[in-house]
């Protein structure tokens, strides 16, 4: 199998085609722009009304009063909608040339040929290319871009859209709810297990572009699906904003794994709301890799509402110079015998800052619920900073909750051991850093694991003079 072409030490994905867009909205946000978006997409009135209501909420809601400073974000500086071509290409060949070139550089064709079930590749605000394999459609699995889903499956979408994350949840959810474009819609019927990971790629291209994809996954009873996404974005001198919303509904006995490896260039604000609603005996697994962006605020959540529902968050964060990774997880135990497990590993160096922010809440009545949180941080040098802000709110006395966190640097003893075997200092640091995150990396699809190990390795070796 071909491996993904791996980046060189300098940011290899920092490129962009000359801006080719069939339509470009004005900068800034207003009710008129929201109306425009709905009009351009020819949306049914229920979605148009949803956007407008959300816009109202966005205007009224204040910025979060906690976390890293968002004072440099000026909403009127962004474009909120771009449409590259008139309609979607049905096959790879029909895609416009320069868009194909962009994806060639990222490596989609090999992926597509080799082992994926289907690819929705997003360019700017809308999915341009999609390919759904025959086996998927035969099984009744729906996998397409969100915009098309609104038109093709309105009842299904309408039933679940905004139910896990309502617009009023937070300011950025409200923003996304009003200007969302692109993202994936997945419905897996009862008992169907999709063996191969479904993947999507994203890019931000034009200057000041905001990326507001909206993903909704519904796994019906007893089903299984693994959705994976990896992002890259070009480098610009002005800031970019990525504010996605991901809603996942895991019905009785179903299992969903959602893997993200984010490597946005370091001018991007990445503020994401991701939440799963897990019913009886359902399982939700969030696997989250945060490597890039200037500031990421992301706390994959799960509401364990059915008996024996299970949720797991595996999170890796890496913060280099000028980066803040403010990540974590949230588990709310509503029903009895529910379990949650959160494992977070973070590395910071060269002045980067990693923060773990988490909440484990056990409501009264969540009998025999169990939760375990482990968060470990590695601070490589004395320029960097690591914080943990976990909260455990336990209102039920029958289960158990455990939380452990450790912060340290690379142990001198371990470094001495490896160098005494002839391994040079920089490589020894890489090995230890990669060993530190290994329990989570081994849960990633192979090509992500390879890229991640390589990236960490390069970053670590860059730190030794």
């Amino acid at each position: 199998m071909d491996t993904l072409s791996l980046p060189s030490p300098s940011y290899a994905f920092g490129f962009h085609s000359a801006d080719v867009h069939a339509y470009k909205s004005k900068k800034g946000l207003s009710q008129a722009i929201v109306e425009d978006i709905a009009f351009q997409k020819q949306e049914p009135s229920w979605m148009r009304m949803f956007r407008l209501r959300s816009f109202d909420v966005f205007m009224k809601k204040s910025m979060p009063g906690w976390g890293p400073s968002l004072s440099k974000l000026t909403f009127n500086d962004f474009y909120y909608y771009l449409k590259p071509i008139e309609s979607q290409a049905a096959t790879w060949e029909k895609l416009p040339k320069d868009i194909k070139e962009t994806y060639d550089k990222i490596g989609i064709p090999e992926m597509e040929k080799k082992f994926l079930s289907g690819v929705s590749a997003q360019y700017e605000s809308e999915v341009v290319y999609k390919s759904v394999q025959k086996t998927l459609t035969k099984k009744g699995v729906i996998f397409l871009d969100m915009d098309s889903a609104v038109h093709k499956y309105p009842e299904l979408v309408r039933k679940y859209f905004g139910t896990v994350i309502p617009p009023g949840d937070n300011k950025f959810a409200a923003l996304n709810s009003s200007v969302w474009s692109g993202g994936s819609f997945i419905y897996v019927p009862k008992g169907v297990k999709v063996e191969l990971p479904l993947q999507a790629y994203f890019r931000i291209n034009a200057a000041h572009m905001g990326q507001f994809e909206r993903t909704l996954i519904i796994a019906d009873e007893g089903s299984f699906v693994h959705y994976a996404e990896g992002c890259t974005a070009p480098i610009y001198s002005t800031d970019s904003l990525h504010s996605a919303v991901v809603e996942v509904i895991v019905k009785k006995g179903a299992r969903v794994r959602y893997t993200t490896v984010q490597n946005w260039s370091t001018n991007v604000y990445n503020l994401v709301t991701k939440r799963a609603w897990v019913e009886e005996e359902g399982t939700m697994e969030w696997v989250d890799g945060n490597l890039g962006s200037k500031l990421t605020m992301k706390y994959p959540s799960m509401y364990l509402v059915g008996r024996k529902a299970r949720g797991q968050v595996l999170s890796i964060a890496y913060a280099g110079a000028g980066q803040i990774q403010d990540a974590g997880a949230k588990a709310v135990h509503v029903a009895s015998e529910t379990t949650s497990e959160i494992i977070s590993k973070s590395i910071c160096r060269s002045g980067g800052r990693t923060s773990y922010r988490g909440l484990v809440k056990m409501l009264h009545g969540a009998k025999d619920a169990k939760s375990r949180v482990v968060c470990d941080a590695l601070i490589i040098d004395d320029l960097s900073r690591s914080d943990t802000y976990p909260t455990m709110d336990i209102q039920e006395n029958s289960g158990s909750m455990e939380h452990e966190a450790t912060v340290s640097k690379i142990s001198d003893e371990q470094l001495l051991y490896l160098t005494s075997r002839g391994i040079r200092g920089g490589e020894a640091q890489s090995m230890i850093a990669n060993g530190f995150i290994e329990p989570i990396v081994k849960e990633l699809p192979l090509e992500y694991a390879v890229e991640l190990n390589r990236l960490i390795g390069l970053q670590m070796q860059g730190s030794v003079g």
């Binding site: 009264h364 941080a377 601070i379 490589i380 040098d381 004395d382 960097s384 900073r385 690591s386 914080d387 943990t388 802000y389 976990p390 909260t391 455990m392 709110d393 336990i394 209102q395 039920e396 006395n397 029958s398 289960g399 158990s400 909750m401 455990e402 939380h403 452990e404 966190a405 450790t406 912060v407 340290s408 640097k409």
Partner: protein
């Protein structure tokens, strides 16, 4: 230079208790609190050390907040904090424990642990152990657990002929003993056991 241990019993909420530990000094503190309580410990001198053990047993049907701060402001400082809590029915405890290691405090070692035993159906604990680490040459660990009285332990004692009520008491005592027994005064210890017995 070692100092004798300090003992605190807090039955009414009052001002924040602040301790500053200077170079090469050691602070040993043992506390017992039945109400809201604020504790601030700053290690300002190099090679200083603070070891704190505390027990929080709130009066039933109250809502209390316990805040502790372990601040490391100089090199090679060490702090350990263990706070145990027994929460009765209808009572809420909010525990917020901060460990902050300043940029200049290399070689520091900090440990913080909060263990809670929930006694009733409507006992409520909110615990937020916070770490703010600005220096990388440190060792820092924190942990928190919240559990009820283990049913298997109750059953075991019952199988030895002990009534459930008594087994209950024995297990709670076992949980709190390592703190209570650090108080040198038997009268103090007795009054603490009494407080627990009442809940």
């Amino acid at each position: 230079m070692e100092k004798k241990a300090k003992y605190l019993i807090i039955n009414t909420p009052g001002k924040k208790k602040t301790y500053v530990v200077s170079e090469k000094e050691t602070l040993r503190l043992v506390f017992f609190s039945t109400c809201s309580f604020d504790l601030d410990i700053t290690l300002t001198g190099r090679l200083s050390r603070a070891d704190v053990v505390g027990l929080v047993v709130p009066k039933p049907h109250t809502d209390i907040v316990v805040r502790t701060v372990q601040k490391h402001a100089d090199t090679n400082t060490t702090s350990t904090l263990l706070v145990k809590s027994v929460v009765p029915d209808g009572t809420r405890v909010t525990f917020e424990g901060t460990v902050r290691i300043e940029k200049q405090a290399s070689g520091s070692d900090a440990y913080q642990r909060n263990e809670t035993m929930l006694l009733g159906d409507t006992a409520h604990i909110r615990t937020t152990p916070i770490l703010e680490i600005l220096n990388n040459d440190v060792k820092c660990t924190h942990g928190a657990t919240a559990k009820p009285i283990p049913e298997n332990e109750l059953l075991y004692l019952e199988s030895r002929g002990i009534s459930r009520k008594q087994a209950h008491e024995m297990i709670v005592r076992g949980f709190i003993d390592n703190v209570v027994l650090q108080f040198p005064d038997l009268k103090m210890q007795k009054s603490m056991y009494n407080d627990i017995h009442l809940i």
